[in-house]
Symmetry: C2
Subunit: 419 residues, 2 copies
């Protein structure tokens, strides 16, 4: 399947990319900003402002960005003509009269985003509208120990099925994958439990088959992006997403952009050390955060304390049983949330992002777990005047956030907000 049509205005995908490539070839470490790139950057920022703040008039956007109204007109007019944006009905003027503003927002029928969630053994693909709605979900399974060609066949078939439901060419395809991902080079390095994926240059493969921009990143980073574009991180310039479950992970949104680290390796928090010479971790080291704040620890402690059905214990059940009056559950919940808090404390001491969105098991514990973690973090962090730490839970289902995040990866790279 191939898509040809592209919007008349460049969103900066081509030019800066080729520029960077050129600079890369000559080994340069500086990149000047060209005139054309400038336009793309500003177009991207206007779109992001629309995302972050919801429907806004041209005048509002101009005020928000501190630029001239005419600049905004120049930016949005081609987008309206291309039906990426639509003008809403005139909203009544608020105070002292004046011409009513016409709010702008994304066209419901604008091109969508392809999204793939890749976990050991399963593939989920879908289309995500710019407004966040999910459509055309397709699921498939693959043999984690099988043949590479077989996997590619399943992946292609699944994605083709989903993309064929799009009315127009999607902006691109975003892939969120478990495991260790090299997002710079678009390859999967290793996925525990799915050796078939080891070393797979998935971006190159999909780009070739679908002739669309393709982006890949690891699961926690997709959650982060999902939070940023469509969840509680919307509009924020600094926050972290923290995932807890069988393993621990995190991702950071710093100064308005996704932090990736070299070759996309930042945020592997599970194996930061919180207990020198502590318990043995799966990674072979001792005292990793994962040894005290992941589900295996919780199951072990639940069994030790004699809680019912310790093998299937979750934060959600712990909260429920604590709410029902179980002292043991209450105590374990407190210790669990405290252990989770230590990782967040170290993050806070390091980056001082002040805002954290929880995912995974601990998110199942809802507001109560989040509040407990917040209290522990507050106690364990060195206080600064005027500093407030917020811990929130993403209420939307886990899979949906990851899929939306995969879609958001495309937006982030497409809008090229980084210079």
């Amino acid at each position: 399947m191939k898509f040809e049509s592209q919007p008349s205005y460049s969103l900066g995908q081509r030019t800066p990319a080729s520029r960077e490539a050129a600079a890369g070839e000559s080994g340069g470490n500086v990149t000047l900003v060209s005139q054309a790139a400038l336009g793309a950057i500003n177009r991207g920022r206007v779109l992001q402002a629309l995302y972050d703040n919801g429907p806004k008039s041209r005048a509002d956007l101009a005020r928000l960005a501190g630029v001239n109204r005419t600049t905004i007109t120049g930016i949005v007019q081609p987008m309206i003509e291309d039906q990426l944006l639509v003008e809403g009905d005139a909203s009544p003027s608020d105070v002292k009269g004046g011409k009513p503003a016409r709010p702008l927002y994304f066209n419901h029928d604008a091109p969508m985003l392809g999204a793939v969630l890749l976990l050991p053994g399963t593939i989920q693909a879908c289309l995500v509208a710019l407004t966040g709605e999910i459509k055309a979900v397709t699921k498939a399974e693959f043999d984690p120990l099988g043949d590479t060609e077989a996997f590619i066949a399943v992946m292609t078939k699944t994605l083709t099925a989903t993309l064929s439901e799009a009315q127009q060419a999607p902006f691109g395809i975003g892939v969120a994958s478990a495991g260790m991902i090299d997002s710079d080079n678009g390859t999967i390095l290793t996925v525990n439990l799915a050796p078939v994926l080891t070393g797979l240059p998935l971006v190159a493969i999909l780009q070739e088959r679908f002739s669309l921009p393709v982006v890949i990143d690891h699961h926690p980073r997709a959650l982060l992006v999902g939070d940023r574009w469509f969840g509680p991180g919307r509009g924020q310039q600094n926050f972290a997403a923290v995932y807890t479950g069988e393993v621990l992970g995190g991702a950071f949104f710093i100064d308005g952009k996704v932090y990736r680290g070299l070759a996309g390796s930042g945020g592997e928090l599970g194996h930061s050390v919180v207990q020198i010479d502590g318990a043995l971790c799966n990674c072979g080291k001792h005292g990793c955060w994962e040894t005290v704040a992941a589900l295996p620890w919780l199951r072990k402690e639940a069994a030790r304390m004699g809680l019912p059905h310790p093998k299937s214990i979750t934060c959600a059940r712990l909260v429920k049983e604590a709410d029902e009056g179980s002292n043991a559950a209450d105590e374990l919940l407190d210790r669990y949330t405290r252990n989770v808090a230590f990782g967040i404390v170290n993050l806070q001491q390091t980056l001082s992002l002040n805002s954290y969105v929880l995912h995974g098991d601990v998110a199942g514990g809802g507001v109560r777990a989040a509040e407990l973690i917040r209290q522990h973090v507050e106690q364990l962090v060195v206080k600064r005047p005027g500093q407030e730490i917020s811990i929130t839970v993403n209420g939307i289902g886990e899979g949906h956030t990851a899929l939306r995040g995969a879609a958001g990866l495309v937006l982030s790279s497409h809008l090229k907000l980084v210079i």
Copy 2:
């Protein structure tokens, strides 16, 4: 003392600042890039390329930045006319003939940078040339428990003495200070051992007295900037500076810019937790990194192990005694460097910067200490294919790096490399 003259080309100080202020007033979180800002940004990047790569011809710079040669000419010509840059002698052409290139570099007589290092009880001020040379060092002492007015008087007098030796108006004044600093608002929050500084809006005070741009940041961040502009971090896009001594601290250079965190509070690594419920820390918490990797721990262990003169033990002496055959020193050195390594490991797992510059006590241990730390980090970190971790020591004296870093703070803010 007031300075009036300013270079004819803007380096972006005024416009973006006022732009940001305007956007801030209206509560906006996006900022479009203006035409004028674009020029300032590119001018800044050309200058940074000159810093990072040493003297380069226009053609080289154009290749390095991936832009047209004429663009570089347009950027550097006014700077040459303003005597910020100078054209060197024609260097002999290297291979196939052609017109010999004229390398450009900073004019030795260009405006300098004012730098202040503020530690409890002492002030150091100096001028730093764009080439890194330090001139007109002035030192003074103040009463850490004394009167605010008295401190300001000493500070003003010291700085006036230094600045009066400048031939032209410096580009600005950079202040590196111990303690907790709010670099966004330019105030000192708290300094242990110097209560007189608590809450002092030093930037506003100095800006008013000297009519120059003033920047303040905390000590580790000044070391980072010193490394970046004039030390082992030169030309690097990602690295961290780590300070060990009576306390621990760090600062990060991420994707080509100094990371500050909200209100400049990132990098307070000393109180990240590496030992849940471990030893009591000065901060009132338990198991902070500072409890196992700072000098108080080293002194305590040296005493426990019966090493000579444990109260004045340093990493430098430990290395010397270990080199001379002391098994106890060797063993303690290994444990000390391992404990230091844990903090770097957590940083690496979080941000994956791959490159660390050591300062403070552990830097006194030279290459041997750095290599030991590197080995421990390699062992304790989760390996990624193709990932190399570098640990280096800044050979230049501590004070000089901090002063150069304070100067570099001005450059960083003046060049406005961030958009």
